[in-house]
Amino acid sequence: MSAIIQIQNVSKTYNNGHQALHSINLDIKKGEILSLLGPNGAGKTTLISIICGLVNKSSGSILIDNFDNTTHYRQAREKIGLVPQELHLGMFDKVWNTLRYSRGLFGKKADDAYLDQLLKDLSLHDKKNEEMRNLSGGMKRRVLIAKALAHQPEILFLDEPTAGVDVELRKDMWQIVDKLRQSGVTIILTTHYIEEAEAIADRVGVINQGKIILLDETKAIMKRLGKKHMHLELQTPLSQLPDTLKALNFEMSEDGASLYYHFKNQKEYANIPKLLKAVTDCDILINELHTSKSSLEDIFVNLVTNEK
């Protein structure tokens, strides 16, 4: 696959002297879903804003389908749709009017049939004549997506599309993204939820303090990063950890009421029954079982210590 976006040595220092991006290099492939994963303040929004033309870069170059995004900004921007992180909408605008406006801004001839279909695809059709202020947060997010797609872009940027969105809506959003990808749109989304990156992205770029510190296929990244823990709540606290369990690398909490196990890789998940059997073999009764994945914070701690 060829690169539809080429980012070369892009740095950004804001006017207040803060350097938000340090020489970013990134090729985004046509048709892929790339997730930029990083904590708040990592520089995700800054990078997206530079690509889309909201922020000027301090140095470096960006090609969109081989068009420089500053010298040939018209050709470059035509291909891009942006869904911003914040719900920036005119509260008294009607859904339908705002879509026609968006399409017009991008210089496209009116096409009501297309916009109608877009509204249907995003389950917004019954809100067509509604004013923004009457819509829920999730609906507003959909309107923003519809606006970004109103000019039929080849590339869609979604900046934290599921921040502050409930679980059900999040799944909805993933479906929307998946449908878009099937129609051939290249999608770049930012998130600080590792599950989100894992669920929908083909590739993940991990960004921290203005640098891309890791970029790989999602599976490969998850193998390296997405460590799982198992936590067993016991019915009666133990006074000490049995040797058989110690040998299996179980850990006990200080009060003896919980056992922990850290998986080294995904293959180890297959061992869960064996591990549980070892526990019951010691006549330990389990109250509850939890598994969890390492949080983004864990991952950064991991990456940084690995680098040293």
């Binding site: 909201l54 000027n56 900004y73 050709q75 921007r77 891009i80 911003p84 005119g90 017009g104 801004l105």
Partner: protein
């Protein structure tokens, strides 16, 4: 040129005007009528004529100028400021739209609104006094140039302002006083000599005076001076906007 985009911005800005069309028409009609009641009748009964013109008739160009200046500045500054304030500006900045196209959309809409309001005032005035415009082409030129240049000024203020105070301060502290002291409702010949001289430093005087000349053929200052002034003012605003755009001033960080 992305004409479709200019139209999109223009229409979006005009929409507020049309959606409150009743209010948009009624308020200039009411304020014009009030001016005639207050200035025309109350004061006009004491001042019979100014420079040989019936006082009620005399104030029409000043009244129009007053509305054009304040409306242009407030409409244009609010339009762009509002988009910055609500964050909806992101869409324009990410669109294949040049700065000039953004300008044409916003300033065009603000100037159109002022033009419509000015026309309503003119029509309303016709019910109160007998108007005969001596130099219609010059009158129209002044009319349009004023709408355009003060909408440009408003656009600059809207770009510059990053809070509501700043948005209000220039109209409130500079424009309104200058308009009031610029001979909108009187001839500077009615002032003591010292104030006449001071008034000559008021740029608005040249506008009002020139506009009045196009109506009645009489003016406080030479009509050529007035035309030069409005031309200079327009060029200055264009220059400032050009500089703002070139540096990405307050639009793109």
């Amino acid at each position: 040129m992305n004409l479709t985009a200019i139209k999109a911005i223009y229409n979006a800005e005009m929409k507020r005007f049309w959606s409150t069309i009743g209010q948009s028409i009624v308020s200039p009609v009411i304020s014009t009528s009030l001016y005639f009641v207050v200035f025309g009748s109350a004061i006009g009964s004491r001042i019979d004529q100014v420079e040989g013109i019936d006082y009620g008739t005399f104030i029409v160009p000043g009244m129009m100028m007053f509305a054009l200046l304040t409306q242009s500045v407030s409409n244009a500054s609010f339009g762009i400021f509002f988009q910055k304030f609500t964050g909806t500006m992101y869409e324009i900045l990410s669109a294949p739209v040049s700065s000039t196209e953004i300008l044409l959309g916003f300033v065009g809409a603000a100037a159109s609104k002022s033009f419509i309001i000015g026309s309503i005032i003119l029509i309303t005035s016709n019910f109160f006094v007998d108007l005969h415009i001596q130099h219609p082409i010059i009158m129209l030129t002044f009319f349009i140039l004023t709408c355009l240049s003060f909408s440009l000024l408003g656009f600059i203020i809207g770009l510059w302002a990053d809070n509501f105070e700043k948005l209000q301060i220039v109209p409130l502290l500079i424009i309104t006083p200058l308009v009031f002291l610029g001979g909108s409702f009187y001839s500077i010949n009615m002032l003591p000599e010292i104030w006449q001289s001071i008034s000559l430093f008021n740029p608005v005087l040249y506008l009002v005076s020139g506009f009045r000349w196009s109506f009645f053929g009489v003016s406080d200052v030479n009509i050529t001076l007035s035309l030069i002034f409005i031309g200079l003012f327009l060029s200055t605003c264009v220059g400032i906007v050009w500089w703002m755009f070139r540096t990405g001033y307050k639009l793109r960080s």
